[in-house]
């Protein structure tokens, strides 16, 4: 699953730590999601989308291999 976390963070100028705090997970988890190493739960994905004020599909996208 591809994601646009890094771009969206840059747009809002917020750090990984800040996004982690606002979504109630660790900074390491945000880092892992950005690098495609961890796929978040639906709840966490929705929380992230809420922070960026965008629909889920604008941030997360399925890949052919999914």
């Amino acid at each position: 699953m591809k994601n646009r976390l890094r771009e969206e963070r840059a747009r809002l100028n917020i750090s990984q730590a800040e996004l982690a705090e606002r979504t109630d997970v660790s900074r390491q988890t945000i880092h892992s999601i950005e690098n495609g190493r961890y796929v978040p739960s639906t709840v966490l994905a929705l929380k992230i989308a809420r922070v960026f004020e965008k629909p889920l599909e604008a941030i997360f996208e399925l890949e052919e291999t999914d």
Binding site: D24, V25, S26, Q28, T29, H31, S32, N35, Y38, P40, S41, V43, L44
Partner: protein, 154 residues
Amino acid sequence: MKTLRLLPTVWKPVGFVLALAGAVLGTLTVFSNFEIPGFGFNLRKEDEFLVSKFENFTQELALTLLLIGLLIMAFSRVKNEDERVQLIRLEAFQWSYLVHFSILLVANWLLYGGNFFYAMLFNLFTPLIVFLLRFHYILYRSNKEIADESLETT
């Protein structure tokens, strides 16, 4: 996301101390027949086949300390416990069961008599021990990779 019910992080060192005490006492009991003097009583009216009327509870104490200690260690939160850590927990549990039953399978064919008994005694603890080793190793490796990548990008 709702996380698993776990003990607070401060319990982890408590579990470690209990498990260590249980492991030392258990080793002394099994391999040197050590018994805490006076720690027992007459459980039966007379000696029976393979069991004496007096029962010393050193071995029971060792097993209790070790099991409770390991359980506390396995089921207490780590710092920054969240859904990613819980996935690591789940994978470590999967590993621990694979190792546990692999040992059982191998010991079943290769070990007999007393050796099989000792292997099974040790194997009682492999689910918890392998879980703890695997969980903390993956957590350490994952956090180290993330820290290294963060340094590269800054």
